[in-house]
Assembly symmetry: C4
Homo-oligomer: 233 residues x 4
């Protein structure tokens, strides 16, 4: 049990966050990124060292807000009736090392998992990938068995996430991160889309990847010209 306290946290904000985590978890299921009880969503509670995380062994299709668990950054229980996901140590480790993030998602997205099982990075062969993710999807080859708490292995994943919001875990699945719960879900959806495109382009030929120069151009382009200026929507 953690010594962390939830005193002083605004209940309306926390309730809204629970709602958003439940919706994002449902989004994983509806976009066919997980089946059965697989998949994890964790979100940092703003201005705290606490993380809201999905419970172990529950379908993402039908979570209730009360099913979510609150843990501290060492994965100790703070509040909740259930056991948190067995992948909680990985999630809290990322949250500890990346305090500016909001959300970490773990999925078994089938086409991305095919690359992970084949021990291959996802080559950057579509503008969608270049634009949204910024390049190749790296694979953490030192495979962490589910539920690992090995610091070196967790650190490998944090390192892979330094330059990109999505990584493959060899023979296992996908980790994506986001500045909001919805952004993390969006990236998980894009990842499976670009994995589908890349896999089928590999079937057709040996696709040519985006160059560093092109990726650099797109990064600047996205920052300055894509979407709406802050405050307009």
């Amino acid at each position: 049990m953690s010594k962390m306290s939830l005193e002083g946290i605004e209940q309306a904000m926390l309730d809204d966050l629970r709602h958003r985590v439940v919706e994002v978890a449902r989004g994983l299921f509806e976009n066919k990124l997980v089946v059965s009880t697989f998949g994890v969503v964790s979100t940092r509670i703003p201005k705290t060292d606490c993380v809201l995380v999905t419970p172990s062994g529950f379908s993402k299709a039908r979570l209730d807000k009360d099913n979510l668990i609150i843990v501290d950054l060492d994965a100790n229980l703070v509040q909740g009736k259930f056991r948190p996901s067995v992948e909680t140590p990985l999630h809290t480790y990322i949250h500890k090392r990346r305090p500016e993030l909001s959300t970490v998602i773990h999925t078994h997205s089938p086409m991305a998992c095919a690359f992970a099982a084949a021990n291959r990075e996802i080559p950057c062969v579509s503008a969608e990938q270049a634009f949204h993710l910024g390049g190749r999807i790296p694979i953490v080859r030192k495979y962490s068995l589910p539920g690992t708490t090995e610091r070196t292995e967790l650190e490998n994943i944090v390192k892979a996430l330094e330059n990109i919001d999505a990584v493959l875990m060899r023979k296992h699945g996908v980790v994506v991160v986001g500045r909001t719960p919805e952004e993390a879900l969006d990236t998980a959806i894009v990842l499976e889309d670009i994995a589908t495109i890349a896999l089928h382009s590999i079937v057709l030929s040996r696709p040519i990847e985006f160059s560093r120069r092109e990726l650099k151009y797109l990064k600047d382009f996205k920052k300055t010209r894509y979407g709406q200026k802050l405050g307009t929507t």
Copy 2:
């Protein structure tokens, strides 16, 4: 006609079980594990030697509770207006040999069937498969034509199910078993997901399988740390 009697069976329990079998059958259809009139669900009625089974030639999309048939463990009719599935002898044989199970499901899940048609086991290349199913999905190569009552062939399937809850029948389809109707459906859904991942990883490369040591670790891990402790949900 069986000499088996249904006297003494609680009607509310039986009615609830009929409802669950109908829902699980619909789940096979909605998860695209069967089309047309294919697929079979059979569930042992607790504390009896009777089995509830789906009728022959009916779509799994729209069964009524009254469409289900009750047979004994030798596949003889006990109650019901319709002929049971032609695969009933296989189902009752498994129920007889595995009294601790609840449910047997037969599907034509497309990606799993592709492995069955290709005469290949599904290699264990994803954590999802290692974790949920425990290893490779075996294939019963001595093919039983639909509706077989050959004891050796039925025994081959029972043998293959000893260490794993899912097997492929060569050129035919899939048999999965579960401790509840819902668990069997869940395993059928996971099986098609891992077949999809494995097939596409084979397209990409020659994937490396989980080792015995890893599988052993995951088995213990699942037993002790996954999901909720009994009585908590």
Copy 3:
């Protein structure tokens, strides 16, 4: 304009048949066997030499009963506000030569079309195909351009349909037939399912086909033991 008359046809029966054709056409769309305005459904009006057929250039997703056209067995207009499908001569030719049938369906089912484009029969590698369709799906290699009225080409299709309810038209698509509108739709759905299985089994290996002996066994088995006895449902 045909000299055929619709006098004496029971309106309630005809109205019911129109409804069924509209439903079957929608089924083609919902099962993703056609997109856009592709696909044709034609049904013989019992006890007449007239055929109900879908109009040219309409989406199958949203037909009204009044959109259907009635033609005679030489594809001449009998009744209707619209032009019939450009494939009407093929449909009426099949109806003329196979008076015992009810319905002919033409689709562009993607996986079956992949075989048609690749100029390959669909090998019989799954029990589903052996059981439901009875063997390999033949391909009519002498390709008929859409809308053909060439007697030899139409005859080739009739010949291919003699032993099986589904054929591929090279580089074009699929023709299936049924004893009822619903049976033809069911066969069209099964055909795409078995094409999906066969294609992916070919990706995995060189699958082994069902033998003549096995196919013969299954044919007898289906006739005598599958589904319900007449009059029981």
Copy 4:
């Protein structure tokens, strides 16, 4: 800011057009031709040099009519609260050069994108493609990075669209055009369908393409005999 004025435009017509663009954008999402915020729809406002275009960074699943932007043919803002799509210069360039068109659509349709990433045209191996699109889908190999305003690159796309309503942009995606918003959506849907068929036929073998003569025949056939005569529906 453009000097273009919207005075004199009938508001009911403009409102209807906004509604149709929103519906077509939703159609891209529902047919899985785009994910996330990708995809663009632009429609010329009849009798003006103005174009209605979707905003940058919005999901196509849930646009409001008020989210749309009006720009002139040089991509300058005429009316609207948001930034237009970053691909607006490509769209207005096509509209300027092809005044007879109504709508330009850009998607990341996965199977078409696989061809684009593999740097391959889509061969014309199905009647659906021959009939609806008239032949091979060309690929503009000189890749325009997203948001390009390079005249030569834009001109390459216009040139590729001269003989066909759909082109691939290498490593990027798809551009389709239509005489109405709905026609452009329909062509985008057909394009992904024929890409799916062609890709899987390539997996199965080396498919044989339609000849020039066949394509010519189908073009005439479509013009004179397909669909309904004007004024009948």
